[in-house]
Amino acid sequence: MRFKIYRYNPETDKEPWMQEYRLDDIRPGMMLLDALLAIKEKDPTLGFRRSCKEGVCGSDGMNINGTNGLACITLLSDLKEPVEIRPLPRLPVIRDLIVDMEPFYKQYRDVKPYLTVKDPLPEVELKQSPDDRDKLDGLYECILCGCCTTSCPSFWWNPDKFLGPAALLQAARFIMDTRDQATGERLDALDDPFKLFRCHTIMNCVQVCPKGLNPTRAIGEIKKIMVKKSL
């Protein structure tokens, strides 16, 4: 199987370049990460992040044949040759497939992604009905891999002002949580021409999310709640 992989080490390379690799020993059921690890055995200078190998840690987000995804849960058999692998778009490249995720993490921090309870806390759990808990399904499972945000044109255009689908999904996660008591502040903070309203429902985020989440719908839900609150 043939691979074309984006290489760039600012210490030695003037410009990014594409390196070709060949792997002969392809087993059925092999994931792209397995292939990258096999390539790295031959060429230890190839840089990429990885950890859990099963799609829960969110380390190995990359652009695979033009679509963002996690290498560890992308089957080689689903990919067209040569497999072209690039770093996640629109984030500064540190080296090879490794990008600087800090702008993405900053967006996350900007939505104050933590439960805020203002009342005195009981000595036991805060009660929540199963139906209310179900509202968090599809929101809390995000693994912060960055696939969605870096595939979003609105993020490409306004990376410093639009919060991006991942952070907005987190905003929704806390707005929808019946235990959270900062809903008003959260909604007010998003009422701005950029943070949320640059979303034009292009839905790239939905298409690429490796966990099958739907940030566009979450953003829609936030808008609905904002409208309800303002009327």
Binding site: S154, K161, P193, F194, L196, F197, H200
Partner: protein
């Protein structure tokens, strides 16, 4: 940094309400003109002379221009990043839209007076 005076939720709501009004108006207008065998300038004047139609058309002009403003504003926000250029384009678009609006309304009310 957000541009001064620009908001998030309100324009978004206005964009949707104006879109709804535009759609309803176009439907109403199409039905009306379909009832004329010929639709020339005289019929057009007569039709617009009715106070209800006149008001609806005035609202339509405002809705189209407001809707356009929000749409173009969004495009500028997406694509134009230098602040000075952005301000210039906002001013330009705003002037054109307000100008067209005033001109359209003047035509509409002059006709009514006549």
């Amino acid at each position: 940094m957000s541009a001064p005076g620009l908001q998030g939720l309100r324009p978004w709501i206005v964009q949707r309400i104006s879109a709804a009004f535009i759609a309803v108006f176009i439907l109403y207008f199409t039905i009306c003109i379909a009832q004329f065998e010929v639709f020339d300038f005289d019929h057009w004047q007569q039709w617009l002379a009715l106070p209800f139609n006149n008001m609806a058309m005035a609202l339509f002009i405002v809705a189209v221009l407001w809707h356009a403003w929000i749409g173009v504003r969004d495009v500028i926000l997406d694509y134009v990043h230098p602040v000075v250029l952005r301000m210039f384009l906002f001013t330009l678009v705003m002037s054109v839209l307000v100008g067209s609006g005033l001109w359209g309304l003047r035509a509409l009310f002059n006709l009514h007076v006549a």
